[in-house]
Amino acid sequence: MKKGIQLRRVKVQKKQQQKEQQQNNTDKKNKTPIPLSTNIDQNIQTIKQDLGNSADIVIRKMNIGSSGNDQIAICYTNGLVDTKTVQNVIIKTLLVDIREAYLQNENKSKLSELFENHTLPGGEITKVTDLDNSKHDLLSGNTILLINGESVGFSIDTKGWASRSIEEPSTQTVVRGPKEGFVESLRTNTALVRRKIKSEDLWIEQIQIGQKTKTDIAILYMNGIVNQKILDEVKTRLKRVQVDGIFEGGSLEELIQDETFTPFPTIYNTERPDSAASNLLEGRVVIIIDGTPFALVAPALFVQFLQSSEDYYQRADMASFLRLLRFVAFMLALLIPSSYIAVTTFHQDMLPTTLLVSLAAQREGVPFPAFIEALLMEIVFEILREAGVRMPRAIGSAISIVGALVLGQAAVDAGIVSNVMVIVVSITAISSFVIPEYNLAIAVRLLRFFFMLLAASFGMFGIIIGLIMMVIHLTSLRSFGVPYLSPMAPFNKEGQKDSLIRLPQWALFSRPKMIAQDDYIREETPAPEPKNSEDLKGEGE
C-alpha cells in the first residue's frame, strides 16, 4: 500500500518534471533567433561550436574579387550534398565567374545582391539571416554561403546523397501492373505519385515531425475530392505528435490511429505508387514519410486489407473470384485450428463416421490433448516463421530443412503430434499467406490463439461467441471517423460493387461514400456497346 503511494508520487513528480521540460522546450522555440553576425569568422566559429566540430561538416573559406579582399565561406555536410555540384559549379562560379561580374559591377552594389541577381547558379536559393535556419539547412544537405561584412547568407539546394534506385516492391507484388515501388527518398516518392496524377488538384503539404530527426512528412490529397473534415483531422493528429524521431510509418501510425487496443490495423500502408494514387482518387489522404518506402493511407476500411491493386488490372470476374477466395482464406486462417479442436474434442457427432475413424486412428497414441497439440504446432510454426524472417539470407535454407523435415516428419513419426494436425497447421499457414496485407495477416495470427483457447474451453459455442465478439469489436472501430466495416456496416449499396467482389470498371462510378462524402459520384463511363459486326463490315467496304 505504502509502496503504491510512493510509486504514484514518483510518477507525479516525473510528470511535473516533464511539464517543466516542455515549457523549457516551448521557451526555446519561442526565443528570438540569433541573427548572423557580420563577422564571418564569428559565424564560422559559432557553427563549428554548435555542431560539436563534427567530422562531416566541411567549411571552406576563400578570398574572391578582383582585389581578393572579399572573404566568403561555404559550408556543407559531406555525404549529404552532391559533391560534383558543389565543386564544379559553386566553387568554380565563386572563384572564376565572379570576376566578370566584378568587372561589370559599376554600381558597387553589395556582394549579396550581386550573388542573388547575377552569379549564383542553382535552382533553389534562399536567403538566410539567422543561425538556426542556416544550421538546419546545412544539416539537410544544403550548402550555406556566408559573406564577410554582411549579415545575410545564402542557402543553396545541393541535396544529393546515395539512395536506392526505384525497384519492384517487395510486398504487395502483382503479376500484372506497375512494377515500381516507393523508395526511401521523400522527393522521389512524391514524384512517383505526381507522375500518376498530373492534376492540379493533387496538393502536397509538407511538415516536419520529430524534435531531433526533423523528418519530412508529406501529406497528399486531391483537393475537391478529399473530405475536408478528414483532412483536418489528419493534420491535427499529425501536429499533435511530439517525439524524438520517426523512422517508419509504423511508429507514426501508432501515434495517430483511432484505437490502440485492437489487433486490426486502422491505417493502410502501401509500397505501391499506383495504389497510393488510386486511394487519392477515392478521396483518401496519403502520408509519405521521408526515409521509408511505405506510405500511410487514411482512412482505411477492413475490406481494403483484403484487396490487391491487381484486382483492378485483371478481368472483373477473375478479380471477384480472387477476392472471395481471400475472404475464405481469411476465415480459414482464423478458424481452422480452433474448429479442429472444437470438432474433435466436443462435437464428434458432427463428423461422418469414416472421417471420425480416420481422425481417431491418427490420434491413437498421441500423448497430448488436441488443444495442447495444436498449440504446440502453432507456436513452433510461429517460431519458424519468425526465424525465417530475421535470419541472414545465407542460412535461410537451414530453416526449411529443420522446419519441414525435423519438426514436421519426425514429430509425427515419434508420435508426438498427429498427421492431421500437421495438415491443419499447414492449411492455416498457407491461408494466412494469402492475405495481401501483412498487418492484417499478423492480426489473424494473434486472434487464432484466442479462438483456439475459446474452442478448447467451450467448443463450437466458444468459437461462435468469439466471432460475435470480433464482429462487435470491428463494428466499433473507426478510422479517422469512418466506420471500419463500411460499406457492410453501415450498409451502402453502391459500396458493394467494389468490396467483396469487383464489378466491371464502368459500373464503379462512385467513390466510397463514407470517405468522399461531399463528392462521391465520379464521371460515368458508359458500358461498352460495340457495334455489331455487320455494321463494322459496312464501314470497311
Binding site: 466436443f346 463416421t353 480416420s358 497414441g365 488436441a370 474451453s457 467451450f458
Partner: protein, 397 residues
C-alpha cells in the same frame, strides 16, 4: 481503459481453468459404437455393443487384429446395460455414430416400445440409424461376424440396406424416427427388415472369415417382419415384401420376372408410383390402389418373341396382372395376422376423417380384416434396352 483490458485478459486466461473442459472427450478416449444388438434376457436386457478399433481400420501400421470388437452386458434397463459395458470396455461408449440396431427375435415378439424409449431419449444417440430384426434367435450373433471389403460390419449392413432398398425392392430401411412415427400413428403398423447369418456361424467372428473367397459366413438382409403394434407377428416372403413396398410406394428401382414360352422375360422398373384412394360404399370404407410403373425390358429369353407394339402391350398386361395378384395376396397375409402394415387406416383418416371416427375402433382386428381393397396395376414399358429383337429368336429353327 487499460485496467478494464487487463481484467478482461485475466478472465480470458482463467476461462479454460474454470470451465475445466467438463464435457471434452479426446478422440482417443472414445469407444466409437456403431452397432447395438438388444436381446431379451431373463430379467431386462442383454446388450451387445460393437466398437471400432480405429487404428486397425485407418491406421498406418495395421496388424492382424480385428477391426471391431464386441462387449456384452446384462441389465434391468437398456441404459443400465449400456453403462455396465464400461466394466469390460476400455473406454466410455460413444453413441452418436450408431448405425445399426439389431433387435432380437424374442424381444421383438414381446414388444419393442420400451426399448425405443432410451434410444430416442438419450442426447448422444441420433435418430438416423437403421433398425433390423434378427431372424436368428440371438441378435448378438449378428454383430459377431466379420465382413469382407468393408472392415466395419455395421457399416456394411448400413450400406447394403441403402443399396438394396434402392435397387432391389424387398427390403426397407427403417430409421428410429420413422419407426416411432409409425408406431404412434393410428391405422398403421410398422415393418422392419430382417437380418440373418448365412453359412457357418463358427468362423464368423474370426479373421478366417475374411481371409477366404467366399466368406464362410455372411450377413444377409432378407424380407420384412410385420409388427402389430410393437410386437412381431410374422415374416413376409420375398415377393410379399416386394409387394409391400409397391403398396407403400417405397420402390425406386427393381426388376420383375415373368415366364414366357421358352424362358423368362425380365423388366427393370425405373419408376413406380402408388396412388391410394378411399371411397365410401354403404357406410364402409373401400380402398382403391393404383400402381403405375415405368419399365424397360432388361432380358428376353422367349421363343418367337417379337418386340412389337402388340407383344409389348401383352407383356404389360401380364406383368400388371401378376403384380395385382401379388399385392392382393400380401394384403390377405396381413389380414390373416390382423395388422394393417400398409397404413390403409391412416389413409382413411387423412381422406375421410369422419368415416375414420366410425371405423377406427378395433381397426386392425375388424375394420382392416373386412376392408375391401381394389388393386389396379399399370405397366408402361418404354424402352427395350440397347437391342430390339433378341438375337436368339432369329437363329432358332
Amino acid at each position: 481503459m487499460r485496467k478494464k483490458l487487463v481484467l478482461i485478459l485475466f478472465f480470458l486466461v482463467l476461462l479454460p481453468v474454470l470451465s475445466g473442459c467438463w464435457d471434452k472427450k479426446e478422440l482417443n478416449e472414445l469407444a466409437i459404437l456403431t452397432g447395438l444388438a438388444i436381446d431379451q434376457a431373463e430379467e431386462g436386457y442383454r446388450v451387445t455393443a460393437q466398437i471400432l478399433n480405429p487404428a486397425e481400420i485407418a491406421g498406418e501400421a495395421q496388424t492382424n487384429r480385428v477391426a471391431v470388437s464386441t462387449y456384452e452386458a446384462t441389465g434391468d434397463s437398456l441404459f443400465e446395460a449400456i453403462r455396465k459395458i464400461t466394466d469390460s470396455s476400455p473406454r466410455k461408449l460413444y453413441l452418436a455414430h450408431l448405425r445399426i440396431v439389431v433387435l432380437g427375435k424374442q424381444l421383438a415378439e414381446q414388444g419393442i416400445e420400451d426399448t425405443l424409449d432410451f434410444l430416442s431419449r438419450d442426447h448422444e444417440v441420433r435418430t438416423d440409424f437403421f433398425l433390423l430384426v434378427s431372424e436368428e434367435k440371438d441378435a448378438s450373433s449378428i454383430l459377431k461376424v466379420l465382413t469382407p471389403i468393408d472392415k466395419i460390419p455395421t457399416n456394411k449392413l448400413y450400406q447394403s440396406i441403402e443399396s438394396s432398398q434402392k435397387n432391389w425392392a424387398p427390403t426397407l430401411g427403417v430409421k428410429l424416427d420413422q419407426l416411432i412415427s409409425t408406431l404412434i400413428s393410428e391405422g398403421n403398423n410398422p415393418v422392419l427388415t430382417g437380418v440373418y447369418i448365412e453359412g457357418d456361424t463358427e468362423f464368423g467372428g474370426s479373421l478366417q472369415n475374411v481371409e477366404r473367397i467366399p466368406s464362410p459366413s455372411l450377413l444377409k438382409l432378407q424380407n420384412l417382419a410385420a409388427f402389430k403394434g410393437d410386437k412381431l407377428v410374422g415374416w413376409l416372403t420375398e415377393s410379399e415384401s416386394k409387394a409391400y413396398n409397391y403398396l407403400t410406394d417405397n420402390v425406386t428401382n427393381t426388376v420383375a420376372v415373368q415366364s414366357c414360352t421358352g424362358g423368362n422375360v425380365t423388366i427393370e422398373i425405373n419408376n413406380s408410383a402408388t396412388d391410394i384412394k378411399v371411397v365410401e360404399e354403404n357406410g364402409q370404407p373401400k380402398v382403391k390402389v393404383t400402381l403405375t410403373s415405368e419399365a424397360a425390358i432388361g432380358e428376353v429369353q422367349c421363343e418367337n418373341q417379337f418386340l412389337d407394339e402388340r407383344t409389348i402391350n401383352e407383356l404389360e398386361a401380364s406383368f400388371a396382372k401378376k403384380k395385382e395378384k401379388m399385392s392382393l395376396d400380401t394384403i390377405e397375409t396381413a389380414k390373416k395376422w390382423q395388422t394393417d402394415i400398409f397404413g390403409f387406416g391412416e389413409k382413411i383418416y387423412q381422406q375421410k376423417p369422419k368415416l375414420w371416427q366410425r371405423v377406427k375402433e378395433n381397426w386392425d382386428e375388424e375394420g382392416f380384416v373386412n376392408l375391401e381393397v381394389d388393386v389396379k396395376a399399370e405397366f408402361n414399358i418404354k424402352r427395350t434396352g440397347t437391342i430390339g429383337e433378341s438375337f436368339q429368336s432369329d437363329g432358332e429353327d
